[in-house]
């Protein structure tokens, strides 16, 4: 038994020593000389078309013509890193230790993103590191195109169908992954996203927030109140489900029921109001309990009433 234990220990130790030797050999490999900055004009000599496109972007205009500090003056190398080794090696994709971007890049996503976050870890990107998109290994360039002017937010082009002025570019970018949400926008009851009047970032911040569902406001209701200010109240008579969350009754991405309701009336109301008042007996289909707006035919102030006699949201 002791021999077995000793043999096992020997094997483990041997493995560890082997790894250490290999590791040392790797780490002790001769390193190339540290790269230095060569300037944007050197980059332009070989990458003229890319340089020309980049110079039309907001970032290009700042880096190349209106730099505010030493970092921005580095131009192309501000993001790609110092290029002397790349130049000395005669160029080539990924040669010389340059930081490259995109899904084909050998540079890890973390490194790519850290390059962007040097300047952009603030404002709406403050919570990027905690966002679900970062957690799932998305790169900034998954959604943004940097090397040519696309839309105001430099969103990635999705195929050749991106409409004039990229009005719907944002929905198309988000819709690449969020297929169900994208499909919901085409339901009969919807908000004007597919018409180009709203975009996903009117409610969500894809760079991360401390709020549920990456909402921009601190609660679902406060998000909805940004536009639907009339429902903000507070009211004398409060309907508790509406007070807690609009999504108790509404599906904001689109439904097949009127008014973005999750379930058609009166089924929606009877999910809670099961055993009191109206539903106690069967009703004919022509009943006011069913046709038109169903329950809200009478309870029209269902989001809340400020009328002293509005206890049942009818005044």
């Amino acid at each position: 038994m002791k021999r077995c234990v000793a043999l096992c220990l020997f094997c483990v130790l041997s493995l560890l020593v082997s790894f250490q030797i290999i590791w040392s050999a790797e780490t002790e490999a001769p390193k190339p000389a540290p790269a230095t900055y060569v300037g944007a004009e050197v980059c332009k000599a070989c990458h003229a078309p890319a340089f020309e496109k980049f110079s039309q972007t907001m970032m290009g205009k700042i880096f190349l013509f209106n730099a505010r500090d030493d970092r921005e003056k580095q131009g192309c190398e501000n993001c790609h890193g110092p290029g002397s080794n790349h130049v000395a090696a005669g160029g080539g994709k990924g040669v010389g230790g340059l930081i490259t971007f995109g899904k084909d890049s050998p540079v890890p996503v973390k490194v790519q993103n850290e390059t962007c976050l040097q300047c952009h870890q603030r404002g709406v990107q403050t919570y990027w590191e905690a966002s679900p998109h970062a957690g799932r290994g998305l790169a900034c360039v998954t959604c943004h195109t940097l090397m040519e002017k696309t839309s105001d937010k430099q969103l990635a082009k999705v195929g050749e169908k991106t409409p004039f002025f990229d009005r719907r570019a944002e929905i198309e970018v988000c819709g690449q992954c969020h297929l169900q949400r994208n499909a919901q926008l085409y339901r009969s009851s919807h908000m004007p996203l597919r018409e180009g009047k709203l975009v996903c970032t009117n409610c969500h911040n894809p760079h991360g927030t401390p709020n549920p569902s990456q909402l921009k406001q601190t609660s679902i209701n406060e998000n909805c109140y940004t536009c639907h200010t009339e429902r903000r109240g507070p009211f004398l008579w409060t309907h508790p489900p509406a007070f807690e969350s609009c999504t108790n009754c509404h599906e904001p991405h689109g439904t097949v029921n009127d008014r973005l309701l999750k379930v058609t009336d009166p089924r929606l109301c009877t999910q809670c109001h099961m055993s009191i008042q109206h539903p106690v007996s069967p009703r004919p289909p022509t009943s006011v309990f069913f046709f038109n707006r169903s329950c809200t035919n009478c309870h029209s102030q269902i989001h809340g009433s400020n009328h002293p006699s509005g206890k049942f949201f009818q005044r």
Binding site: K61, I62, L64, F65, N66, A67, R68, E72, K110, C119, Q121, R122, T126, E129, A130, G135, G137, F164, F165, S188, P192, E195, K197, P210, T218, S219, Y225, T226, C227, T229, E230, R231, R232, G233, P234, F235, L236, W237, T238, P240, F243, E244, Q277, H278, V288, N292, R293, T296, N297, C298, S300, Q301, N306, H307, P308, S309, K311, F312, Q314, R315
Partner: protein, 440 residues
């Protein structure tokens, strides 16, 4: 034959020009400035009538061969120091949009935007016998009334149905939303960022909604009205942020004021016939009654009120202050935190319990709610990426919606549907809640 061929070629070319061209782009230099732009036009077949189509809910599809121009104009200095961009979309239509953006690269960015969003519910489908007099209180008045109260009869030959068919008129139900926005962003140094924004939203139109007389269950009649909507919302946002090497901190204020220009509606009860003659013509002042049944003959003691009165959404305002920050910590760790505190206020005067003069007004402890909700949120998040491809995250979040509204008492009860006094002391609940979330 030759003429026909020429005509065909010209018309085909025109169609191709209108429908198949892609946006045209041009650029010219004028002195020290470069002017560039692109434009696109399109058309629709003349027989198409868009305003009846369901897909026009939020759109304006023009009738006939109307050209829909879209244009983008960019002006920049040859020194590449400033820019001025102008975008227009669907000029002249109800869903038009204009954006003007100007600034100095890396220093100042200003944007002004005008956007219109139509929202069509129905065209000429809704019908009403009411005429509407707008104001802070909107009156829905009738020029005549049914000749008999057979409210429980719903056949097409009933007096009520005949009266409706003789007096109703079609109306459009739609909303029109006009939004003006102004945003400015000033970055005097790469570290400092100041932002400001103002946007105003005017939502006007009407949509269908129901009101009723009588008391449920069993004795009521629903009246369908076109709810008048004239909302004005004013929003302001001010913020400042400083980002150092590996850390940032920002402070932001948001304010929002909502005004409803139609805060009350009053509508005639079509089934109180005390002021109409046998032919249904209004002949004298209406007389309220303290009860209502749907089997009333319209003149008896159960005829109900002459009018109903309903309170629409009251004016309100909200203010929020948000402090947020982030810091890079050792061992590939990041900390992020936010604290937000707000006020949602509403103090519009209460309406009387009822417009029905035959019912004694109950008492109420206050003249307005003094509504005061205060959302508070605090969050702390720690992320560690020490191990490659392993994203460790821990967070704590508190959200509380506390209710500081005044407690209102209704010691003598309330009036149900302008028809019936309901005794019994009441105190509306002051709802509040909080949520604590911890996760990793």
């Amino acid at each position: 034959m030759k003429q026909t061929r020429i005509c065909f070629v010209i018309s085909t070319s025109l169609v191709l020009f209108l429908f198949l061209i892609s946006p045209a782009w041009a650029q010219i230099d004028v002195g020290d400035y470069t002017i560039s732009g692109q434009a696109e036009i399109g058309g629709l077949p003349g027989t198409f009538k868009g305003d009846k189509a369901a897909f026009e809910t939020y759109r304006d599809v023009p009738v006939g061969n109307v050209i829909v121009p879209q244009m983008q104009l960019m002006i920049g200095g040859k020194k590449e120091d400033f820019y001025l961009n102008f975008d227009s979309y669907k000029t002249g239509l109800n869903d038009q949009k204009y954006t003007l953006r100007a600034g100095r690269y890396g220093l100042l960015d200003m944007e002004f935007q005008w956007d219109q969003i139509p929202h069509w519910f129905s065209n000429d489908v809704a019908r009403t016998p009411y005429s509407v007099n707008d104001g802070n209180t909107t009156f829905f008045t009738l020029s005549s009334k049914p000749t008999a109260t057979t409210a429980t009869t719903d056949s097409a030959t009933s007096p009520i149905a005949q009266w409706l068919n003789a007096n109703d008129h079609p109306l459009n139900l739609s909303l029109y939303n006009g939004i003006a926005r102004f945003n400015v962003r000033y970055t005097p140094t790469p570290g400092w960022t100041f932002t400001g924004g103002y946007w105003q939203n005017h939502n006007v139109g009407s949509r269908a909604f129901g009101t009723l007389f009588g008391t449920s269950p069993g004795s009521f009649n629903i009246t369908e009205l076109a709810e008048p909507i004239d909302y004005q919302t004013y929003n302001i946002e001010l913020g400042g942020e400083y980002a150092g090497n590996g850390w940032s901190v920002g402070l932001k204020y948001n304010g929002s004021i909502f005004n409803n220009l139609h805060s009350t509606i009053v509508w005639d009860n079509p089934l109180n016939l005390s002021n109409s003659n046998a032919a249904g013509v209004l002949a004298g002042p209406c007389v309220d009654a303290a009860n209502y049944t749907n089997t009333s003959n319209g003149r008896d003691a159960n005829r109900g009120p002459c009018q109903g009165r309903l309170d629409l959404y009251p004016n309100n305002q909200a203010h929020t202050i948000t402090l947020s920050g982030a810091a890079t910590l050792p061992n590939k760790s990041n900390f992020m935190g936010t604290m937000s505190y707000g006020w949602m206020l509403q103090d519009a005067p209460f309406l009387p319990f009822t417009i029905n003069s035959a019912i004694t007004q109950p008492t109420i402890s206050r003249n307005s709610l003094g509504g005061d909700l205060r959302p508070f949120m605090i969050n702390a998040t720690l992320v560690n990426n020490f191990f490659e491809n392993v994203n460790l995250k821990a967070f704590y979040r508190y959200y509380g919606l506390s209710n500081h509204s005044s407690q209102v008492s209704l010691p003598q009860g309330y009036v149900k549907l302008d028809s019936l006094a309901v005794p019994g002391a009441l105190e509306p609940d002051l709802f509040a809640y909080s949520k604590n979330s911890v996760g990793y």
